[in-house]
Symmetry: C2
């Protein structure tokens, strides 16, 4: 059965989508069969990989009981072994739909169960919107591991406690007893900036080896790639950003025995 | 009666809070009596100005019908004429509370009416979370003008159409017939980065003079200030970031006859 990772953080603009796109691509490059699911109504992971935000292509239907997740899976042409379920604007309405359902925290878990057990994927990566609303909560209830993308900025550290509290609550309430913190990824690290070093120092002091060794540098090439609908590997395969995400993929493979 | 501005954008990390804090401070510096309201459960505007996230200090109670907004107003010691209503983690629960109320889009408007008409403020600035959920929708229903903070990055442009559609819907549905786009503020502009210039060019082509002349430069000083609980004016008053926000305050005063 596939290992499910959710990349969540209610703080906005911390590199969740950039990480979801590029770590999925890097895992597939290393022969880990990977499914990336875009749960954000903004659909940045969808357009960032050059796919269309097709109406009816997202998990909106399956989460309302219409259709299955497996039928929404499409290959990402640019990389063998990489598949995707895209998002669409309608996903924004799911927050209201889910609240009214019986088992409102477990809908995504139920919808993904056949996909996990299909044997087609080794890893499933969930990209979340910047909130702890129904979509993010559902993703935490469906995941084995939470990966926190943490920008090397002061304001980003403030929210860390909150998402860890939510993780603890979901675990202790029995919503998802298996859920664990998979690790904290430091993003947009700028070696010329004191604040960056201070934030990394503080986070490593607190969380020790829960912090991935790989740090993602602030790099203009990473922010340019999505405008071409490409991962960093297609856009600039030898850049610092590409190597950092390859290194992260290796850490995930090792830490969680993927593939 | 005070003019109400909401700083909203579902895209995360685009500089909403940094703008809310610093434009409020700059307006007060220019003798515009200003009230800043933190509607984000992350409470970054609260901690960014060095205030406590006091339990019961937010609009959570008033939005549930307990207490009034006026009693939550507190002065920001560092600047005469600047006041604030802080946020707290409980604000996250308001999304669920509001959906169950009768007039769920109009709650904030109702709660703020006595504050607007109190004669104590010339401008009210609302800082929103990165989502188009109940809090942001309520803020759009309560506002006279929407100010969109737009990061000079490709992914940030993607969501622009969505929030403008929401504005149109709220106006045409009669939820808030007065609501207008006040302007688009380009943030984190980096003159050394081609992408920054391209994004600004595209946005100005499309939106012409709806784009403020003032652009906020990417500046490390702006990201350091909140770690000291200070606005840029207390932290580094002669910096590029401080001057850009002063210039923006002047544009707002001129465009909307504030003060
Ligand atoms: N390492 C990096 N270096 C430079 N820019 C980056 C880096 N990672 C991401 N970016 C850029 O920063 C912005 C925010 O990143 P991204 O959209 O991935 O964050 P997010 O957490 O998914 O945002 P949201 O909260 O809106 O979902 C984007 O414009 C992206 O291109
Ligand atoms: N002009 C700037 N130059 C450099 N850094 C900036 C600038 N404006 C904001 N920042 C930093 O970028 C990060 C995102 O900014 P901010 O938190 O204000 O955005 P936001 O839109 O309010 O985020 P959220 O969507 O989470 O509410 C913060 O760490 C902030 O300190
Ligand atoms: Mg994202
Ligand atoms: Mg903010």
């Amino acid at each position: 059965s596939a290992t499910v990772f959710t990349i969540a953080n209610q703080k906005g603009g911390v590199g969740k989508t950039t990480t979801a796109i590029n770590v999925s691509f890097a895992l597939a490059e290393k022969k880990v069969r990977t499914l990336l699911i875009d749960l954000d109504p903004q659909a940045n992971a969808t357009s960032g990989l050059g796919l269309e935000k097709t109406e009816g292509g997202s998990l909106y239907g399956p989460l309302c009981g219409e259709g299955t997740a497996l039928e929404k899976v499409q290959p990402v042409g640019a990389q063998n072994g990489l598949f995707m379920i895209t998002s669409e604007v309608d996903m924004a309405a799911i927050e209201i739909e889910l609240v009214q359902q019986e088992n409102y925290l477990g809908q995504l878990r139920e919808v993904l169960a056949p996909v996990r057990e299909s044997g087609e994927f080794d890893a499933i990566i969930l990209d979340c919107p910047p909130a702890l609303g129904m979509l993010s909560m559902n993703s935490l209830a469906a995941a084995d591991y939470l990966l926190i993308a943490l920008q090397c900025e002061y304001l980003a550290m403030e929210g860390l406690g909150q998402i860890l509290k939510v993780l603890e609550k979901l675990r202790s309430a029995g919503v998802n007893g298996k859920l664990q913190l998979g690790g904290i990824l430091m993003t947009m690290f700028d070696p010329r900036n004191n604040l960056s070093h201070q934030v990394v120092g503080e986070v490593r002091n607190h969380f020790d080896d829960m912090v991935f060794r790989s740090m993602i540098p602030r790099s203009i090439r990473l922010s340019e790639a999505p405008s071409f609908g490409q991962s960093i590997f297609e856009y600039d395969s030898t850049s610092k950003g590409a190597n950092a995400y390859r290194y992260l993929a290796e850490e995930l493979i090792e830490r969680f025995s993927l593939g």
